[in-house]
Amino acid sequence: MIRSALNRIFGMLVVMALVVTIVFVIVRVTPGDPAAVMLGPDATAADIASLRQRLGLDASIPQQFISYVGGVLRGDFGQSIFLNMPVTTALMQRAEPTFFLTIFALLIATLIALPVGVLSAYWRGSAFDQAATALAMFAASVPSFWLGLIFMQVFAVQLGWFDTSGYGGPGASFGERMHHLVLPATTLGLISSALITRFTRASMLDVLNDDYVRTARSKGMSEWRVVVKHALKNALIPILTVIGLTAALLISGAIVTETVFGLPGVGSLIVSAVLRRDYPLIQGALLVVAGLYVLVNFIIDMLYLLVDPRVRY
């Protein structure tokens, strides 16, 4: 197991090195200039050139890359051009809304998807199964920004139960901040539930026809125990994978949802950083998101090892 874990850690390091390089290159070859954005529409070419020099953007791309990688290896992700603060500080400040948004969305997705998926499989071909399939297809295909705007229109604009956007003003309590997450988390959760529902159904169908399930039934075990204790337990590995991947996807899915709901999280930070061409912030944020993705995959792989000792890397 230790050998497998070490192999996976080495793989993670390679992936992260590639991410650093690819993100750096893509960001630098994309047209657009942070100096021009910062100085505003009436800035002269000379002003822009002067600011580029001050920001160190006039150095060659290889020079900038070496300097950046050196910084990353020392744990220094650079300074945000627009926020005038270290990238790590900016990311830490935005971590809370994204963290809770992801947790709540995953919770909503799982609470919907697991029972619906299990029952769909159990009542395969029934009206319930067909309705659940149709709803899952709808949730999987609907764009998050559209669903978000619909929720906003109904629950914030018409009913007035929630604010349309934001994360609370100065001195907002934890409860007030969480209240702002209800609509975006529901949006993301519903969309994410589609995938988990389909995987749960498929995985349950695989195991419900297995011999050990038939054996359990023939022993007179109750249907509840058969489905939950025997079938679901064995169907959990692929479901766990999907839930883990959904968690990682949610972080990137939050980009759109956070923008629509004006949540100051990592997602909206990435969007504004891209629009402003805040190079260090784009690089740092994407590195963190990629790191989380890789980490979640690593955790899933390790859980596989624990659940099924036959698995080796």
């Binding site: 994309t30 047209p31 657009g32 200039d33 021009a36 954005v37 910062m38 100085l39 505003g40 529409p41 009436d42 800035a43 002269t44 070419a45 000379a46 002003d47 822009i48 001050r54 627009f82 926020l83 005038n84 900016a90 400040q93 935005r94 705007l149 906003m152 229109q153 914030a156 604009v157 007035g160 604010d163 349309t164 956007s165 934001g166 994360y167 003003g169 100065p170 923008t259 629509v260 709901f261 004006g262 100051p264 909206s268 930070l269 504004s272 629009l275 402003r276 061409r277």
Partner: protein
């Protein structure tokens, strides 16, 4: 009904603004203002972005500002400057006892240090620096600015709120970027949580001018305890927020949302006319460097249809060729004959034939969808240009790319932008020889130098007519028309005067 609602909304706002003082103003309350995003900086010297000016004008002040008629009026200066006979020496008396947010008292040393920083850092300060030979503190309460030649735009430049000549403590003047946001304004920075809010609180040491408010000038009352600027970048979310009444003021709404907002919890505020969209021409390279091609573009475009596509209803625009609308001293229709609301395809065809254009090289229009109305105007323009014989290539990029690409003359022939009506014509982008478009000509220099050297406002207005004529003769840009801006305001919020850069001193809550 729609006409009536629009008229009512506009009249209500005008009425409230005009008679604002007739209501009982009470001190207190917090106002939340939804803005189009997070300003790239809070240093108003460092950026020409409007959003920077909107927020920072509550914290920082300049020596002069603009009154309701867009004339310059003293703010931190005690009076209008005394100008020497030859127009090269400006002696500016300062108000005394003015406190900064750190409770230090403003002196001429602070003013000199601030203006020196402005000349070094700010785009508009650098423009002024070309003619400023010296800035000196004559005594504690007087500053003298010496110029190499008469330069009338100096006062508007000192008064403008973006790339602004703000006055800060001398001790902070060496900061670049600015880290201590200490000004003399009626509100001071309490907290900034980027992308969440900028919290400004009343500065108790503020010394307002006496009397009534007058545009950006006059008295600045501090009725509100706090002003919070909240970024809401998505326009659909801003519309939803305006209908729900979540914010006291929602800035920059798409005008087509007028009906939706009229039925919501906040009232629509129409600012008419707000500004002008413009098609900038590339004089340096490519097709538009030929004046006959530029004139063909000018003839081909049909602004009425372009504006209709962009703003949906003629309640929100005016097809007008004069570079300034009525109400501005600079307004004149003289020289605008080439502006045809429905276009003139035949003339355009003749001009193209004269230019020897064979359609092999496309006319490249650089635009973005950051402002949807730019894109919609471009689509209509494309049809009219093609009808006149142009082959058109639309380069639709996002805004940050556009700001980079427009600086490269090899990449475009026409690019689309817009601006509010600037109080001083010399501040318009086309007036700069080095700005994207690179309009340089003897005729331009001749009329502009005469305009800039004249200090008498009435004579300057006459001289601007000559500038406008040359603009139509040489077509450095094509002004499409005038358009209105839409915002939304809490009915309980009063004392807000519609302005291109909205401000909230003198504003108060009535409930």
């Amino acid at each position: 009904m729609r006409h009536f609602a629009l008229a009512l909304a506009t009249s209500l706002v005008a009425l409230c603004s005009a008679n604002g003082l007739a209501y009982a103003q009470t001190a207190g309350g917090i106002v939340d203002v939804a803005t189009i995003g997070e300003p790239p900086t809070l240093d108003p010297m460092a950026s020409t972005a409007d959003l920077v000016g909107i927020v920072s004008q509550h914290m920082f002040e300049t020596l002069y500002t603009f009154d309701a008629q867009w004339g310059t009026t003293p703010l931190l200066a005690a009076a209008m400057p005394e100008i020497s006979e030859d127009g090269t020496v400006y002696t500016i008396p300062l108000r005394t006892g003015i406190k900064f947010h750190d409770d230090s008292v403003m002196t001429s040393a602070d003013v000199v240090a601030s203006l020196e920083r402005w000349m070094k850092i700010a785009t508009r300060g650098k423009q002024a620096a070309e003619v400023i030979t010296d800035i000196a503190a004559t005594d504690d309460a007087t500053v003298t600015i010496t110029l190499s030649k008469p330069y009338a735009p100096l006062l508007p430049l000192l008064a403008f709120n973006n790339a602004a000549a703000i006055i800060i403590p001398a001790a902070n003047a060496s900061q670049d970027p600015l880290e201590s946001f200490i000004g003399t304004g009626p509100y001071k920075l309490e907290q900034r949580v980027p992308d969440q809010y900028i919290q400004l609180v009343r500065f108790d040491g503020y010394q307002s001018l006496e009397g009534e408010g007058n545009g950006y000038g006059g008295a600045r009352h501090q009725y509100l305890d706090e002003i919070r600027f909240v970024p809401v970048p998505d326009p659909n979310t801003r519309i939803g927020a305006a209908v729900a009444g979540q914010y006291d003021y929602v800035d920059q709404l798409p005008v087509e949302a007028f009906d939706q907002i009229s039925g919501g919890a906040t009232e629509p505020v129409v600012f008419a006319p707000f500004g002008w969209p413009v098609f900038m021409m590339n004089h340096s390279e490519g097709l538009a460097s030929d004046i006959r091609v530029r004139k063909a573009i000018q003839a081909a475009l049909a602004p009425e249809d372009m504006l209709f596509a962009a703003f949906g209803s003629d309640e929100f625009f005016t097809a007008e060729g004069a570079w300034y609308p009525e109400g501005y001293a600079w307004h004149s229709d003289v020289g605008t004959e080439a502006y045809k609301p429905m276009g003139d395809t035949e003339t355009a065809k003749a001009l193209l034939a004269e230019a020897g254009y064979d359609g092999s090289k496309p006319l490249r229009i650089l635009t973005s969808r950051q402002y949807e109305f730019h894109y919609k105007m471009a689509l209509v323009a494309q049809s009219y240009l093609e009808a006149a014989g142009f082959k058109v290539q639309m380069d639709v990029v996002e805004w940050a790319t556009l700001t980079t690409n427009r600086a490269d003359p090899a990449l475009w022939d026409v690019y689309i932008t817009h601006s509010p009506f600037l109080p001083e014509p010399s501040l318009m982008g086309i007036m700069s020889d080095t700005g994207p478009g690179w309009w340089v000509s003897d005729a331009k220099h001749k009329v502009l130098e005469a305009f800039n050297a004249e200090s008498d406002p009435a004579k300057r207005a006459e001289l601007f007519v000559e500038v406008q004529k040359v603009i139509y003769d040489e077509v450095p840009g094509y002004k499409v028309g005038n358009f209105n801006a839409l915002a939304a305001q809490n009915p309980a919020l009063d004392g807000v005067t519609p302005a291109p850069w909205p401000y909230f001193w003198n504003a108060y809550l009535t409930e």
